[in-house]
């Protein structure tokens, strides 16, 4: 009987082949995903682009590594020309390791320092993006550093957007720093803060959400916000809303002033042109040859001269109007440098009063809904009675 045919890839009768081709390929793929290598410290060099990140506490970090071991691999990029590895992230860890004695180093890292080797064929821009992202992952950065990271990434991605490589800068930044796109946008708005508020953000005097709100206001409004914070330590929502409204009102007023000015200037130009053309007509009548009688001529000249005088008067009026408008606007803007202390106190008090009233209104409904409870409890009933008297007294002083 003929033998049943049974053929397989990698399988031979004498088993001389490696039949695990699939696994071999998976290994290969894994290597390209995460290329791990032990590298001697002499082959590793610092990256000048890591300047932004602090190098303090190296001695303490060294002690920590000696006790706990190296928790995170360094991230490096291979340079074939010099046969060295440039750090992407891990400057502090690297310097800490270099601070060890030879004995300590050889004990801890007998085969070299464990590193992730990033793919070598990336552009300078991509390298810097990778560097910022890697550092962001392992460091607890201050607000100032985080803001720098976002703005630097923005610059790097701007180039990529121009070349058409990416479409949405904020989305890419969000991906790299593991934050939401909305969060990334807040950093961008925060760049519009006046210097004092910007520093306050860096010092954690205000948070990113507030920075996002304040960044949308004009300079004067931001100065008012700053003033309130300096007085009270913080600014509550009612105060913010009031200033925002004022800022919007100012913007509206400025817009309407401009359009009024433009309209008036246009009218002025038209009148001036009319005056010119009437003058030309008079000159023509007086100088050029024609067939009209002397009386006709005279009456025509008089008629046109009158029209011209009227037009000139109109021009004068318009010029005055424009002057007046500009004067008024100048006075207004001088007054509006920033909200005065008195105004601020008023705004603050108003906001507090509105808040208090809102709370009372809300609580009043609760009382109303619990009438039975109040009726059954002598203490509660007494307290409501006292409240009634107090409100009546207040109403009287307010003459309500």
């Amino acid at each position: 009987m003929a033998k049943k045919k049974d053929f397989h890839v990698g399988r031979t009768t004498n088993a001389t082949l490696n039949a695990a081709g699939g696994q071999r390929l998976q290994q290969l793929k894994a290597q390209t995903q995460y290329n791990f290598k032990f590298i001697e410290k002499d082959k590793i060099i610092s990256n000048p682009k890591n300047e932004m990140y602090t190098q303090d506490g190296i001695a303490a970090l060294k002690e920590s590594i000696l006790v706990n071991g190296l928790r995170h691999n360094l991230s490096v990029l291979y340079n074939a020309d010099t046969d060295t590895y440039r750090l992407i992230s891990g400057e502090r860890r690297y310097h800490a390791i270099c601070a060890m004695t030879e004995t300590e180093y050889n004990n801890m890292f007998p085969s070299g320092i464990p590193c992730k080797v990033e793919p070598a064929d990336i552009s300078e821009i991509d390298e810097e993006i990778m560097l910022i992202s890697a550092n962001h992952d392992v460091r607890e950065s201050s607000m100032e550093v985080k803001r720098w990271e976002v703005s630097r990434l923005k610059e790097l991605y701007e180039t990529k957007k121009i070349s058409g490589e990416i479409k949405n800068i904020n989305a890419e930044i969000a991906k790299q720093l593991n934050i939401s796109e909305r969060q990334a946008r807040k950093y961008t708005t925060a760049e519009k803060l006046i210097p004092e508020l910007s520093e306050l953000l860096n010092a954690n005097g205000i948070d990113l959400n507030e920075a996002d709100k304040f960044g949308r206001l004009d300079e004067d409004a931001q100065k008012s916000i700053l003033h309130i914070i300096q007085l009270n330590g913080s600014v509550n929502n009612e105060e913010y809303q009031t200033i925002k409204k004022m800022s919007e009102d100012n913007a509206k007023a400025a817009k309407s002033y401009k359009s009024e000015l433009d309209k008036t200037s246009q009218k002025l130009e038209q009148q001036q042109q009319l005056v010119e053309s009437l003058q030309q007509q008079i000159s023509d009548l007086q100088n050029l040859p024609h067939e009209k009688t002397k009386e006709d001529l005279q009456s025509e000249i008089t008629f046109i001269s009158n029209a011209k005088q009227k037009a000139e008067a109109e021009v004068s009026k318009l010029l005055n109007k424009i002057d007046k408008m500009q004067e008024e606007q100048k006075l207004k803007s001088q007054k509006n440098i920033a909200v005065s202390d008195a105004d601020l106190k008023r705004i603050s008090a108003q906001a507090k009063t509105e808040q208090a009233l809102m709370q009372i209104e809300n609580n009043f409904t609760i009382l109303k809904n619990n009438q039975t409870t109040i009726l059954q409890n002598v203490d509660l009933k007494t307290r409501v009675a006292i409240l009634k008297e107090r409100i009546e007294a207040l109403a009287n002083t307010l003459e309500l």
Partner: protein, 274 residues
């Protein structure tokens, strides 16, 4: 930038040259600009495109030195009588080159230079197809490093599978040495002589073993292949309607190398009398 594709298998006779020539021809007829690089000292591919033994290419220039301008690479490339196909031909000298590269590799990362030099060609070509020698050497390493896609033809036997495993080792060595991320694109079966039991079983095994990296388009053997390899004509010139040609066209489509516009050009050619 051109996409660089290498056909590599350390087993000889599996159909590397035939595949390189035929696929290049299909892409060229479709309108893509192709550069074929023949790195096999046997010179089969070069001779099919009309090259004689005595060509004067300074290979050291291309493989051992980092060039700085496109012209220094372009001057060694010749046009062929086939539209859109240019050739960097092989020569017997390639055997000596291997020793030169070995010498230089002691002090420089010379295996990276071919990639660098080919990049200087920029957009001149749409595809650069490299036909490699079966003999594993520094030339193959240079080609592997320069390639975007590495494709391995295999026959219906385990000799060519063994060649594939050896290729994986080479790729891993180079990735480690130069911290690159060279990827293996896939393998496909060639010289199929019919739907035999062994073919069906091996096909199924390859599919299970390599998943997406197994290209399920096989090239049937047909007499036109042997005949065109005898008359030294590219396959579609010899017989554009033969089964192997059809299979290669399907392979090109499967690999995603051709878009609709170019496919229409090819279709016109296949329909016509030329």
């Amino acid at each position: 930038m051109a996409q660089v594709i290498s056909f590599i298998n350390e087993k000889g006779g599996v159909g590397k040259s035939t595949s390189a020539i035929t696929i290049s021809q299909i892409l060229a007829i479709s309108g893509y600009k192709i550069l074929i690089i023949d790195l096999d000292p046997q010179m089969n591919t070069s001779k099919v495109f009309g090259v004689q033994d005595d060509n004067l290419i300074d290979y050291e220039h291309l493989f051992c030195n980092k060039q700085t301008d496109k012209e220094s690479v372009q001057k060694y490339i010749m046009e062929t009588e086939h539209k859109n196909i240019s050739l960097l031909s092989a020569s017997r000298e390639l055997n000596q080159l291997i020793y030169k590269i070995y010498d230089i590799s002691k002090t420089e990362s010379v295996e990276l230079y071919l990639k660098h030099n080919l990049e200087l060609l920029g957009d001149t070509y749409d595809y650069i197809i490299i036909d490699n020698s079966p003999f594993k050497s520094y030339l193959t390493s240079c080609a592997i490093i320069a390639s975007d896609k590495i494709i391995t033809p295999v026959n219906v036997d385990n000799f060519s599978y063994d060649g594939l495993m050896s290729l994986f080792d080479t790729i891993e060595e180079l990735n480690t040495k130069y911290s690159l991320h060279i990827e293996f694109a896939g393998l496909f079966m060639t010289r199929i002589t019919g739907r035999t039991t062994i073919y069906k079983q091996m096909f199924e095994d390859y599919e299970n073993m390599f998943g997406d990296n197994f290209i399920p388009v096989s090239i049937r053997n047909c007499i036109a292949v042997s005949e065109s390899n005898t008359t030294f004509e590219p396959l579609l010139t010899y017989d554009k309607k033969c089964t192997a040609a059809q299979d290669y066209i399907e392979l090109v489509n499967y690999l995603g190398l051709m878009d609709n516009k170019h496919f229409r050009e090819l279709a016109k050619y296949l329909k016509g009398d030329n």
